[in-house]
């Protein structure tokens, strides 16, 4: 099945087996291995990407369903060589331990703060219920997201 989509601003066309999940397409066909496979059951959020600007667990969508769509992965979040503010905040606050959940955490958080500048800590914690850090390193993750949310509200 022929599929075409724009990933991180680059147009791609490929012939895929219909049962190819979007996460497999990104990792194996496009070699964008920043997006991780964690639970593979729509729970952990390690595979979170943006599809037409909305957060999506890419293990729960067929690549063919993303035909004609715009996809952004962690590799496409930085613009013109500058880290996205959420990447910078995770760096500054050490919002990670092993790092496996980090791409998904950053993708989910970036969309959340875009839509909810000035979000409270409670709102951030509630929103991140779909992203699991198995190191339980939530404290600094929430701190990082709060830093960006506060800065977004101030501008």
């Amino acid at each position: 099945m022929q599929v075409s989509m724009t990933v991180n601003g680059v147009a791609h066309e490929a012939d895929v087996d219909p049962r190819t999940l979007l996460v497999h397409f990104l990792r194996e066909a496009l070699d964008l291995t920043g997006t991780k496979i964690g639970c593979d059951t729509s729970q952990c959020g390690a595979c979170t990407v943006h599809l037409n600007g909305k957060v999506l667990k890419s293990c729960t969508l067929l690549a063919v369903q993303a035909d004609g769509c715009e996809v952004t992965t962690i590799e496409g979040l930085a613009e013109a060589g500058e880290h996205h503010p959420m990447q910078t905040a995770f760096w500054e606050n050490h919002g990670l331990q092993c790092g496996y959940c980090t791409p998904g955490m950053i993708m989910a958080s970036a969309a959340f703060v875009r839509d909810n500048p000035g979000a409270s800590e409670a709102e951030i914690r509630h929103y991140l219920e779909g992203n699991i850090c198995r190191c339980t390193g939530y404290h600094n993750i929430v701190k990082a997201v709060k830093q960006v949310a506060d800065a977004a509200a101030a501008t």
């Binding site: 219909p18 729509s42 219920e129």
Partner: protein, 281 residues
């Protein structure tokens, strides 16, 4: 995990979808119920007909009552000012499904076709008297939500039939709420209670109540409704309803090792009290 092999076709209209679907086919919209069960090999349809691109199946209109297209996402329903005004319980329930990423793509039609007993929206749809509109090769039909949900993961839907939309009466003059006891890990409902109360002065003129999560399907609770109807929602009436609801769901109880049937039955009474408080608070 990869699902079994299947043929994939994309439909541009409802008629095309109905002409494409085969005996062993399933319709695919958001895929957020179907793909997980296919990955776990609990389902292995030989064909998927993608209805995600059919515009006529998507969207919310408010004209007297609510009409919600089958491929409208949970996030769209939760955020809709019309749904919040005309059926607050449904907006709340759709906002409690999964997480934001799941709500962004999972659709209400897929949700009810899957008929997971622990899902939130079916409980509100049964309480609030929703109607499910279905189209098949032989024409269209409508069925009440109460009759649509038949048993555990079982609906009134026949092979090859497609849910096109749902309609709900306008209950903007009702006190409507959905409250659940979420499983601490999965956040699925251990018990979910929907109440829709029509007040006439200080008296409850009509009470509509349904329970899910604790049961194999969302169950309308006539005994609890009768206990509240005509009352002033005083402590005695609420206690009677909390007792009656346990009998209402007695034939439909579900449980597991962590939350057995008897516990869920008890919690249905507790969460009915909380749902009434949330609706009237």
């Amino acid at each position: 995990m990869w699902p079994n092999e299947f043929d994939y076709a994309r439909a541009g209209s409802v008629d095309e979808a109905l002409s494409l679907i085969g005996d062993e086919g399933k319709f695919l919209a958001g895929g957020h119920s179907l793909l997980p069960v296919m990955k776990l090999r609990l389902a292995a349809p030989e064909q998927l007909v993608d209805i995600g691109g059919i515009d006529s199946l998507r969207g919310i209109s408010a004209d007297g009552g609510l009409t919600i297209g089958a491929t409208t996402t949970h996030a769209e329903i939760a955020a809709s000012a019309d749904v919040q005004a005309m059926c607050a319980g449904l907006a709340s329930a759709c906002g409690q499904v999964g997480d934001q990423a799941v709500r962004n793509f999972g659709t209400i039609g897929g949700n009810i076709a899957h008929a997971d007993p622990a899902s939130d929206p079916p409980t509100v749809l049964v309480a609030c008297g929703a109607t499910i509109h279905i189209q098949g090769a032989d024409g269209s039909r409508s069925v009440s939500a109460q009759d649509f949900f038949v048993d555990l993961f079982e609906t009134d839907l026949e092979d090859g039939e497609l849910i096109t939309s749902l309609s709900l009466p306008n209950c903007s003059d009702c006190q409507c709420a959905y409250v659940k006891f979420p499983h601490p890990a999965s956040r699925y409902a251990i018990v979910g209670v929907a109440v829709c109360l029509k007040m006439d002065g200080g008296t409850c003129a009509q009470a509509d109540i349904a329970v899910g999560g604790a049961t194999v399907k969302a169950v309308k609770c006539g005994g609890a409704e009768a206990a509240l109807t005509g009352s002033t929602l005083d402590d005695a009436a609420i206690s009677a309803a909390a007792e009656a609801v346990k009998a209402d769901i007695g034939d439909w109880l579900a449980g597991d090792i962590a939350y057995p049937e008897s516990y869920r039955q008890q919690m249905a009474g507790v969460f009915l009290r909380r749902a009434i408080a949330a609706a009237t608070g």
